[in-house]
């Protein structure tokens, strides 16, 4: 029943985007999103859209899967579009009751919607091409300069790693317990909200028990292998910045320069 859930949305592959250093990916993504906000002229948006499209093709992730990541936010995009249609002063095209549709409104609506779509697509490209573990590694590495100010970067990353590691295990366990209780005639699909909540007890009690047991065992196993926090700890697969990454950074610098040039010349 629950076996169809995938964690995050990592799509295994070996494309250029998959092989990039996750730290570079995260940083470039943040800068790219910033630029999408900073440069809001038509030419810039053309370039942004083109880049996003090329990245999508490069990633090797099926287009329909990428577009599906837009689905949860579809209503927000539509809502923003409609609001912008009617709330911008300018050349009126049509009037519906109190609202005036303006030419500028259409422009603005398209602009903002495109901006949202680009934001979502680019961010989901990151999670599609980077495994959760690599993402936490990147987070640890990027946050480590702040250790000086008391930020427990390693501990945070370790907590996230463990949490991610155990989500599938817990889902599997929930599935098993649910099936066991269903075999004893439990019904989770009918009844009102209160009844359904009460029906969760036979699942939650065993699940919590086993989660605590697992946490205990894991802590013991980690201590048995002399785990004592992040200081001096090395990684088996340490993150490496390679040719593709420098190429990507170079490309990004050129892009920024070009966008600045366009902005200053107009």
């Amino acid at each position: 029943m629950l076996s169809n859930i995938t964690i995050g949305q990592y799509f295994p592959g070996n494309s250029i985007l998959h092989r990039m250093d996750p730290r570079v990916k995260v940083l470039l993504l943040l800068l790219f999103l910033l630029e999408v906000f900073l440069f809001s002229n038509a030419v810039a948006y053309g370039i942004f859209s083109a880049i996003t499209l090329v990245m999508m093709l490069l990633s090797g992730v099926p287009l329909c899967m990428l577009l599906r990541s837009l689905k949860p936010l579809w209503w927000i995009i539509l809502f923003t579009f409609v609001i912008h249609l009617f709330s911008n002063p300018g050349t009126p095209i049509a009037t519906v009751w109190l609202f005036t549709l303006t030419w500028e409104g259409i422009q603005m609506g398209c602009f903002i919607s495109l901006r949202l779509i680009l934001l979502i697509l680019m961010s989901s490209l990151l999670t599609f091409t980077t495994s959760p573990l690599k993402l936490t590694d990147a987070m640890e590495s990027l946050l480590s300069p702040f250790r000086r100010f008391g930020l427990p970067a390693h501990e945070l990353a370790m907590m996230m790693t463990i949490a991610l590691r155990f989500i599938p295990t817990l889902i599997e366990e929930t599935d098993k317990i649910m099936k066991a209780q269903q075999s004893r005639g439990a019904d989770f699909t009918t009844g009102n909200v209160m009844k359904r909540l009460r029906n969760m007890v036979p699942i939650l009690v065993p699940l919590f028990l086993s989660a605590f047991r697992r946490a205990d065992e894991l802590a013991m196993a980690m201590e048995a292998r002399c785990y004592r926090g992040g200081i001096g700890r090395t990684q088996m697969k340490s993150l490496k910045t390679g040719g593709i990454d420098y190429l990507a950074i170079g490309g990004f610098v050129i892009l920024t320069a070009a966008l600045l040039g366009i902005k200053l010349s107009t």
Binding site: A180, S183, R184, T189, P206
Partner: protein
């Protein structure tokens, strides 16, 4: 009356990169009153298979007929029939003690029958009966917390919880995993008693060839989602190559007899159980004298 599987196939996470075909056109019939073992290496589809027997999983293709009712459809009607089938087919999962949740043992065992709508005197009767069946004294255990018990006792409580449903068929997924030798033997004896005295049709998943040899009257061997063998243990264990292809080994006694034969000692090498094997060796010895 029987459980019948016709060309059952099942795929986990279809149309994703994680797609995995767990069952591939499996067909067989479990007659009422039979004692069937299912064996196969890890990931061969055993657990997926048993979950079809009471409609927890719906086949992608094919049919599952429990006493003639089709559980295959995942529609509303199919789900209703699957619910009804669960009263007939009791399912004991691996490590069933992990599903206990109530404050007292009696309350936990009552969970199943209560879902069937049984109350009052009859409910108490059922709890009492299934506890005694599993060798748990009613008055001593009924008000204790299941979490204070030993592993073996917890498992007995969990199985009692399934027996309280009064199933016709009992499916057990590796019922003896993780028990100590004494607990194992006691549980196996109890299962035998359920089969002989209570006429329950038993299906059990096991890795232990000795247990299969002495308990089951037929064995299903799974390999990569396909049924490799369905035969009486005696015949099944003679097909050494098929067994090895499925990642399994013949019972130790049979292995010994084969080796003796290879070494030129004329023993009768079709005994799969300990006692008959010893008898065969004794006979060979007395013949030699």
């Amino acid at each position: 009356m029987s459980i019948e599987l016709k060309q059952v196939s099942y795929t986990y996470m279809p149309k994703t990169p994680y797609e995995h075909k767990a069952l591939d056109a499996v067909s067989f019939t479990l007659e009422e009153g039979s004692f069937t073992a299912i064996a196969g290496h890890t990931g061969s589809g055993k657990s997926t298979l048993v979950q079809h027997l009471n409609g927890l999983l719906h086949p992608e293709n094919g049919q599952v007929l429990v006493d003639g009712t089709d559980l295959a459809a995942s529609s509303k009607q199919g789900r209703k029939e699957a619910m009804a089938a669960r009263n007939k087919v009791g399912m004991v999962f691996q490590y069933p003690e992990q599903q206990l949740f109530e404050e007292t043992i009696a309350a936990d065992i009552a969970f199943g029958p209560k879902n069937q709508g049984i109350e009052g005197k009859e409910l108490e009767e059922r709890i009492k009966e299934s506890m005694e069946l599993m060798g748990l004294a009613y008055d001593e255990f009924k008000d204790r917390s299941p979490f204070q018990l030993s592993g073996g006792q917890k498992r007995r409580v969990a199985i009692a919880g399934v027996l309280a449903l009064h199933p016709k068929y009992l499916v057990l997924d590796e019922p003896t995993a993780g028990l100590d030798p004494l607990g194992r033997e006691a549980l196996i004896q109890t299962i035998c008693k359920l089969h002989k005295k209570w006429k329950l049709t038993i299906v059990f998943v096991s890795h232990n060839m000795e247990d299969i040899a002495r308990l089951a009257d037929s064995v299903i061997i799974m390999n990569h989602g396909k049924m490799a063998i369905k035969a009486a243990p005696q015949e099944a264990f003679m097909q050494t190559e098929l067994l090895q292809a499925a990642g399994l080994q013949e019972p130790a006694m049979l292995h010994l007899l084969h080796r003796l034969r290879e070494a030129g000692i004329p023993v009768n090498d079709n005994a799969i159980e300990l006692e008959t094997g010893i008898k065969a060796i004794r006979e060979a010895l007395s013949d030699a004298e």
